[in-house]
């Protein structure tokens, strides 16, 4: 019998990406959220979140029949369905800051992900899960316990997200050699991490977090629209979604703000775009750019998010009345929005370090012998790095910092020492959005995967502490 493909599940704080190894994109992407039915007897949701766990519903006296027994533990939804049912159920986010917080919910989340969505019998499959950098070993053990004991999986591999993102970048044509050394810039919805990885090992002490990510960009777009008075036309409940849509469909990274302003002044018809939407309550949310401008497909970089599509379809299927249309102009936010990565000042007053500087600091605090390798391989991952020319700008800015430093030290040495220069490379590729998942899929489809992952037999021999041992994957490749 041919071996069944391993399951690749990447549970992120915001979204869960899952599918089968060997595919180029995840089969399912939905919010990591679980909607449970909270009956009065089973404690309040607030108790669960405040550390004390709400007791699971207690089965009635098993007098004799199944009907008396509670099935509350099966009455829940995950992902998009959970969001759709948020009126009657209470939502929980089992993962916070990348780490699993509520194991009860997570176990049930996996239950449904595997059985309902992937439709796989876990006993027949190997599983690849991801973990954030600096995941405590206890969490790995818990994960292994659930996977082996609840789901009886054949084998398990828990990979660090950053390492997978590095592996995903091997698809880029720019990458000459397949190394597991590099800096990963992982920007999702909530937070951006810059993680240095050397030979497959994360350099934990140098990781930096940037509190600016996708959601902030959306807020910033909304703020700009509001400043200009565009929001008057948008119904308040849609504002955030419209801002998100504009962010995904129109924005790009410019090389210089002032020059960009001038370009817009000189030729407004080329750059200003029109966005038209419809009232979401009465009609379909349309994100079709109907601009008078020559918007090229490259401006419409962002593939529609699958979930959103589904939602639109859902709405499209039930148009009740004549939709109210509204139009608004999209202007400077097209390049100003992603600019907050490079000039956080314009958005936030607490965090002021530009991304290129953070990247530089991260590399400078890493061991000196890997710095060259890190500069050479700066890898982007996650949806918020998808802006057009993001990589180009980052490379230019980091290069400027590095060159400045080299010039400075050359001067201080009295021009006696000449540096051969440091190569700075920012790698962006087309799998960037789900880079972590893709890396997982790539690795799990190699035959080597079965050698490095922990098998069921090993687990029975050693117990959960098995997963504390970390074998780096692909270092021999």
């Amino acid at each position: 019998m041919s071996r069944q493909p391993p399951l690749v599940i990447d549970n992120g704080t915001g979204y869960t990406k899952m599918g089968f190894a060997g595919n180029s994109e995840p089969s399912f992407v939905f919010p990591t959220v679980i909607a449970t039915h909270q009956s009065a007897s089973s404690g309040s949701a607030s108790a669960a979140s405040s550390g004390g766990r709400a007791p699971p519903p207690v089965a009635g006296k098993p007098s004799h029949l199944a009907s008396k027994r509670g099935i509350e533990d099966l009455d829940f939804f995950i992902g998009d369905e959970a969001v759709a049912n948020s009126k009657t159920y209470s939502l929980h986010y089992p993962i916070r800051h990348g780490q699993i917080e509520n194991w009860d919910h997570m176990e049930r989340f996996w239950e449904q992900s595997i059985f309902k969505y992937l439709r796989a019998e876990p006993e027949d499959h190997y599983v690849l899960l991801t973990e954030p950098p600096l995941n405590p070993p206890e969490n790995r053990e818990n994960t292994a316990e659930i996977m082996f004991e609840s789901f009886n999986v054949q084998g398990l591999y828990i990979a660090v997200q950053a390492v997978l993102a590095l592996a995903a970048s091997w698809t880029s044509s720019k990458v000459a050699e397949r190394t597991l050394t590099g800096v990963v810039i992982d920007s999702g919805d909530g937070v951006t991490h810059t993680i240095p990885v050397a030979e497959g090992y994360v350099i934990g002490s140098s990781i930096k977090h940037i509190p600016i990510a996708g959601r902030d960009i959306t807020y910033f777009v909304q703020q700009l629209l509001r400043d200009r008075g565009e929001t008057a036309a948008i119904p308040p409940e849609d504002q955030l979604r419209v801002a998100e849509k504009i962010k995904e469909d129109y924005t790009y990274v410019c090389q210089d703000i002032v020059k960009e302003f001038k370009k817009y002044d000189a030729d407004p018809y080329k750059y200003f775009a029109r966005f038209s939407g419809e009232h979401s309550v009465t009609g379909r949310v349309s994100g079709v750019p109907s601009s008078s401008t020559d918007l090229t497909p490259s401006h419409l970089l962002f593939a529609h998010r699958r979930a959103q599509n589904k939602f639109e379809r859902f709405l499209a299927n039930r148009i009740i009345s004549v939709p109210q249309k509204y139009d608004l102009d999209v202007g400077y936010e097209r390049f100003l929005a992603p600019e907050i990565f490079f000039n956080p000042e314009i958005y936030s007053s607490d965090f002021l370090t530009p991304l290129p500087e953070v990247v530089d600091t991260v590399i400078q605090t890493s061991p000196i012998d890997v710095r060259r390798g890190l500069y050479k391989n700066i890898v982007l991952s996650g949806g918020s790095t998808m802006f057009k020319d993001f990589g180009k700008r980052l490379q230019r800015d980091v290069k400027a910092i590095v060159d400045g430093r080299i010039a400075g030290s050359e001067e201080r040495s009295g021009s006696l020492m000449k540096s051969s220069g440091v190569e700075v490379n920012v790698i962006s590729h087309k799998r960037q959005r789900y880079a972590v998942w893709y890396g997982g899929s790539l690795m799990a489809s190699t035959p080597e995967f079965y050698n490095v992952s922990h098998s069921r037999v090993d687990y029975e021999e050693y117990g959960p502490s098995l997963v504390r041992r970390f074998s780096v994957f692909g270092s021999a490749v």
């Binding site: 200009r228 008075g229 703000i257 002032v258 302003f261 000039n343 000042e345 314009i346 007053s349």
Partner: protein, 191 residues
Amino acid sequence: MPAYHSAFNGDPSVRQVGNTAVLPINTKIRGPAPIAGDPSIPDIIEESLDLFRANCLFRNFEIKGPADRLLIYLILFISDCLTKLAPTPGKPSPGYQEATKLLSTLAVDTFALPGDAGFPLNSLYHPPASRQDADYFRSYLTQTRSELALRLCDRLYPAEQTLGPDGQPTGQLGPRATKPSKWWMAFQKRR
């Protein structure tokens, strides 16, 4: 690379009042300002109009030279002008003619000099050294402000391009817009 600085910072030959530069400008308005030699080279007014939108996004500005001080002063003035033109409840934004008038008045209105009470950034600006200097500086600024107000109005009320029958711009300029461009007004609330 936060914020943008004036290109005139490095010029040592410029006269200074206090620690603010007095830069040559292109203007037809009478006053004591030195006239820029070449009208095709953008002067400080052009520069502040260009940098206004970018710089007013930034919260901090590191002053790198005397010209920067003038730049900031002018940017603040632009911001004042926009506030003046902003529609208030019951009173829509003025048209081009009216706006020009309004801003010209604002430009020649009495204003505080560095060192006077009420000047916004007194900690960063040195007051003029003497009474003479102060008078000179005041008239210089008045002149610059008037010129700036004129040019700002030109930018705020762009001539709309006439659309050809096919809906494409023909390149000919039509009448001026009746309302200040929202692409500018959006920045009024900043800083």
